[in-house]
């Protein structure tokens, strides 16, 4: 009688298997009790830690309202009361997102959150901030109203002066809309997930004097 083959479950597997190596890597770097911990150092009780969570919450509402707006098409919110309300939800979620993100950034700066191997987390955060600004900018250009027209006419000079306008034409609604509803939000979301994974993987940094200095 041959030995029963294993179906499903987590078996040791062959060590040379790429799949096994990937699974073991994830287990090592981000076990579930680090991804979703139920215990944290006592100093995490500070209200400053809330800024990161509320930024994520605002991003959720930005994406949810944005998905509805993009599903219904760019003209919908100009002609429909419900559409206008969803656009307003999108507008205020974006304002809250940036407000909380800036608070989070300043909070992390004064906590020197990059210490002890967390520099990449800080750097990705800065990139998220930059791409978020670009995403909001393309959003303002995609509104199809007077503000869009004037922002586009003015912004073209900055883009053209820097040579960017040859490829990133702010007067081209189709290009701006495509970037706003797809590529840039995917970039922000992907990087935010990476940022959260990095935070959870290393854990929150200790208070400054607990390990001395603010160097990375």
């Amino acid at each position: 009688m041959s030995a029963p083959s294993s179906v499903g479950g987590s078996t040791p597997g062959k060590p040379e298997s790429w799949t096994v190596r990937l699974r073991q890597g994830i287990d090592r770097h981000l076990p579930m009790d680090h991804l979703l911990p139920d215990r944290q150092p006592y100093y995490v009780g500070s209200w400053v830690y809330v800024f990161g969570v509320v930024t994520i919450a605002a991003l959720f509402w930005v994406i949810l309202s944005g998905v509805i707006l993009s599903f219904m098409g760019p003209q919908w919110w100009h002609d429909s009361g419900v559409g206008r309300f969803v656009n307003s939800l999108h507008f205020w979620s974006v304002q809250l997102f940036f407000f909380f993100m800036v608070l989070h950034l300043w909070g992390q700066y004064f906590m020197a959150g990059w210490r002890k191997g967390r520099a990449a987390t800080w750097m990705i955060g800065v990139v998220i901030f930059g791409i978020s600004i670009l995403t909001a900018f393309t959003g303002y250009l995609s509104q199809q109203n007077f503000a869009s027209q004037f922002v586009a006419i003015n912004a073209k000079d900055a883009m053209n002066g820097a040579g960017i306008g040859a490829f990133f034409n702010v007067l081209n609604f189709g290009q701006m809309y495509g970037l706003h509803v797809m590529l840039l939000p995917i970039g922000v979301t992907f990087l935010v997930v990476a940022h959260i994974v990095m935070v959870r993987s290393r854990g929150v940094v200790k208070p400054i004097d607990a390990e001395g200095g603010a160097k990375s």
């Binding site: 100093y43 507008f91 909070g107 210490r115 990139v127 503000a147 400054i208």
Partner: protein, 327 residues
Amino acid sequence: MKGMGATQEEYYRGVRMESYDLVKELVIALGAVGVLALIGAAIFSSPDLAPVTIANWAQSDPVDFVTTASGELASATTSAGYGAPYNAAGPGQSWGPIAPQKWFGVRILIDSANAFVIQPLQRASFSNTDLGTALAAWQNASSDQQGTWLDAYTKALANATVTDGGVVVATGDYGPLPVMMSNLLGVAQSGGLDGLLTINGRFYQTDYTQPLLFMGDGEYLSGLADQAHLTGSLWGMMNETGSYPGQTWLWLYTMWYQVFPFNSDTGIIGLNAGNADLGIILLMTLLTAALALVPFTPILRDIPRWIPIHRLIWRQYYAPRKAAARP
């Protein structure tokens, strides 16, 4: 190599750990932020000032419209002399050897006179023999003759009046220009030019480069923007119509336009108002890189240790130590 799991446990060794419900916190945050956004949406709505059309422009300010169209023919408008990426008429911005506008060349070709005036008139002349004759006269005239007509017509436009929506100038030798311009104005006032500049031989269209450049050449749209407090001297890019918050996160970018050397004609080390766009984009790129590199930058990374805001943030951690240090 040790895995990060072991490292995190080692990192927290000796630190008092407390219960913390991360998921509950996230759910509460989702609800609270959602309520804030819903309140903002319900009470304040969102800005949506209707866009300006070329028809609005031609109906509301026909003299500005005709002056701008004449300027396109004379290659005297912003777009006509812009340079890359639209045409080769201007040098573009540069700072010393740094000239990215020139490097990438003409990639969105716009011939302002043809695109905004001649081609729309050619389409409009399909069943209009008077216009066809005027266009032929214009195109068969020498450039010197065209310049003479344009010069006289532009001067006359300074004292033009509006009668029944049309532009009336003093009698003079303007060649075919009055016929061409009155037809272009008529097409524009009917809304036809909005279509002609966007459709451009296609059916589906999402590119508004031509009508926006044309409207940007006139003063009507910038006048409306001035009334809406959107202009650059008022930190325009970060403002929004009405009393709504705009892109306030662009405050640092728009601030540079208000200060030396970017608001000066002479400037310093080759940076001035003439190449402010390039200079400010370069500066903001450097500042963004500096922000990203804070963890590796002495002084910048030390400021949080020198300014004891962290003692407020981690009160729970520092309070017992402070108490223990008291005599």
